[in-house]
Amino acid sequence: MKPGIVIFISFTYVALLFLIAYYAEKRAKSNKSLVNNSFIYALSMGVYCTAWTYYGSVGRAATTGLGFLPVYIGPAIIAPLWWLVMRKIIYISKNQRITSIADFISSRFGKSTWLGVIATLVAVLGIIPYISIQLKAITTSFELLTGRDDLSVPFYMDSALYIAIALAIFSIFFGTRNLDPNERHEGLVAAVAFESLFKLAAFVIVGIFVTFGLFSGFGDLFQKAQEHPEITRLFTLETSGITSWDWFWLSLLSMSAIMLLPRQFHVGVVENTNPDHVGTASWLFPLYLVVINIFVIPIAIAGLLYLPNMESDHYVLSLPLYNHQNGLALFAALGGFSAATSMVIISVLALSIMIGNNLVLPILLRSNVLEDTVRYNMSGRLLGIRRVSIVVVLLLAYAYFRGVGNQYSLVSVGLISFTAIAQFAPAVFGGLYWKRATKKGALAGLLVGFGIWAYTLPLPTLAEAGLISDTFTKSGLFHLELLKPDALFGLNTGSPITQAAFWSLLLNTMLFVVVSLNTSQSPLEASQADIFVNIYKYRTPGAEYEVVRRQAKVKDIIMLMNRFLGQQRAHLLLRYFEQSKHFDLSKQQIANADLINYAETHLAGSIGAASAKLIISSIAKDDPISLEEMFKILEQTKEMVEYSQALEIKSDELEKTTQQLQKANEQLKELDRLKADFITTVTHELRTPITSIKAFAAILQQNEGISETQKKEFLQIVVHESERITRLINQVLDLEKLGAQASKGIRYPFDLNEVCKNAFQGLKQLMEDRGVTAQLNLPDNILQVEGNPDQITQVIVNLLSNAIKFSDEKAGAVHLCLSKEGKNAQIEVSDNGKGIPEKDQQFIFEKFTQLSDKIMGKPKGSGLGLFISKAIVEQHHGHIQVISKAGEGATFLVTLPLESPQE
């Protein structure tokens, strides 16, 4: 075929892709998305099948039989788990607005810049060989169709270069036209889905042509194959050179590749429009793989039968060409072209996003090269970075292809990339389900795994290509046998891929686990770990697909408002907000931007704008960085609460003290009043006799001629009144003494009989003078009490003299009786006077109470006697009471506790 026709048709095909992508973007703009569909989603995952699948599978099948299959068996094995694992990754990525696999890893481990940089480098270095084999496949198909050798021409004549340039333009046009916050490119996805269908159709048609055109069905084909022993050996595994060990590791590598390859992550996670599409994809995509793989072996066998001397990677094209089916060959080449282009486009886009977001931007922001003005308008700058990275990645891939890739089969180069990408598996899957995984663990695992990969797989290819010295591949690094790349640590499984995968993944996982267990997480790491592992706790259905800048939980907002504005005010404000916006906050979990702003404004009013922003950002999920600050704020608030509680307790205590002081003050005032009363009464009492003494003394002084009798009488009165003053003063002194003695307490046992007798005897004269009949009744036995006998005597004298004083004037009679009443001694003093009226009985024991009686005239006594008696009796733990009826005399009863005999 003429090169012109091939080039023309290729470019027509690219133009068709432009049209499809353009149409899909137009539909997306008018909200009639073409891509929001589980079938398109599953088809877009078909980007997994590249030129490697299209050409390379046949090549590998021709040498190892089913050895090509683990790469597709792996995805088939893990596909049932997508519903659990992939959906979780999607939820997390939408929640955290993750844009690439490197971003995912960096985000999981505390948004670590370093981890992002390393992961980006692993992805870029791992994928460049993979892109290079796509360019190789395209170039080879051109050579086959046109019959010329591109590698022998200078590079500017090389069609692969122009293909690379065309793909760069396409990727730049649909991948970096504008900056979408969610990194969605519907045009590209539509184009990729179309390409998936196209390559499937092309491959199946070639397969049908081979199986049913060149042979009459599968049976015929296998029958003819059996005639050739070198083909028959492909029907079993060992004979075709595939061990169970290889089989297991290859399927394991592809299990991680189907989810972690940057392009798979991009179409499967970043471009996902609905997590539920994963359900359909988990059976539809494996079905796609079955269909595209059914004819691999028939084509390989047909190739071996018809073209045993041709390169087996080319059978898909050379079989139609050999049979002069030029149209079919061109169609097949376009299928291979579509397989290669879709992979290249999505890969370079995914890598450019990674390079821009996780490599270049962090470095620029850290090194402060950017002007502040530029920093605030990064989007233009970012697109520029991406465009440059797309071109750089494609040029690197082209360079690898020209320098190295041409010497290796498609599959072996592809597997090198798979092994590199598998290094992400411990960090990603460990990070998804193991909360304890730390940044240092992920970093250590990734670095060591990547190091082993680089040393055992790509470096030897560079050495073989003559780009670097090959001594280390022949005799090991530092001439150590154990460090030979193809038999690392002495393990030689025969397959460099398997042993590189084994050592790198083993040490990667071990370091990841061991370092994680021996390091701790920063607060941000811990919060990110919680979000990733428990994403279902954080998400609300559908919320991921709204482009909301700040998100916070309603209950957090309410908590903050309560804390900083007070319950009542917060409640009022929230009620007002609900009413003005017409919705019910209790039914919502995620606060919208309105509520967040509303809360922030009101918080700013009470704690200042800066603090409000800090606090809001601590609960808004867009920026969970300030967890540490949040802890600090909570700490401070707690301190304040404790402080105010302490204050409350203090003020309670103060109030109590104040009350006590007030009480004491009242008592003091009362005492003061009593004292004043006392003094008034005492002075009044003193004044009466003094006045009379003064009056009689004056009469005696001024009247010389007073009769002797009268003089005697007056002097008698003066003496009498003086005695009264003395008595009064004595009683006041007694009162004082009483207070003093209460504390001193001179006490000893004494006999009451004795005391009563003495008191009675002392007053006998007075009774006789007054003509009062007196009677004394004493018990026979001794009644012993403890106390001061003088004071008790004073009580009895007091009571007895009162009785004498108030007894009947004509036929007075008093009675003193001592008796034993249970454990008490009872002294009874009675008279036959007028008695004490009941209403006065309660007052008679108080100070200065004198029963005034109009008939009786001036009271006799100071009014202190009974008060003192009562005080004395009570000091002796006794009791005094009066029994009286008006006109029937009065009886005073004093009870004193007897001293118990054993003491």
Binding site: L66, I77, L84, G219, W247, F248, V290
Partner: protein
Amino acid sequence: MNRTVLMSNDKQYKLVTLFLISLLLFNFPFIGLFNKSAFLVGIPVLYLYVFFCWLIIIFLTFWVQKKPRMKR
């Protein structure tokens, strides 16, 4: 609500079981049972076994994913 949760738990167990079954079926020793030079309807038994298992797993996944929707 509870029923959906229970069903979704069921679904998870079924899917994990499917994963484990396919892990077993597609690896040694099971794959070794058919690793011999024999033919069934003219096709090597190893090829038949692998593609048959593959389709079964796909069908079961489809069935598990579809089932709750049919009940709705």
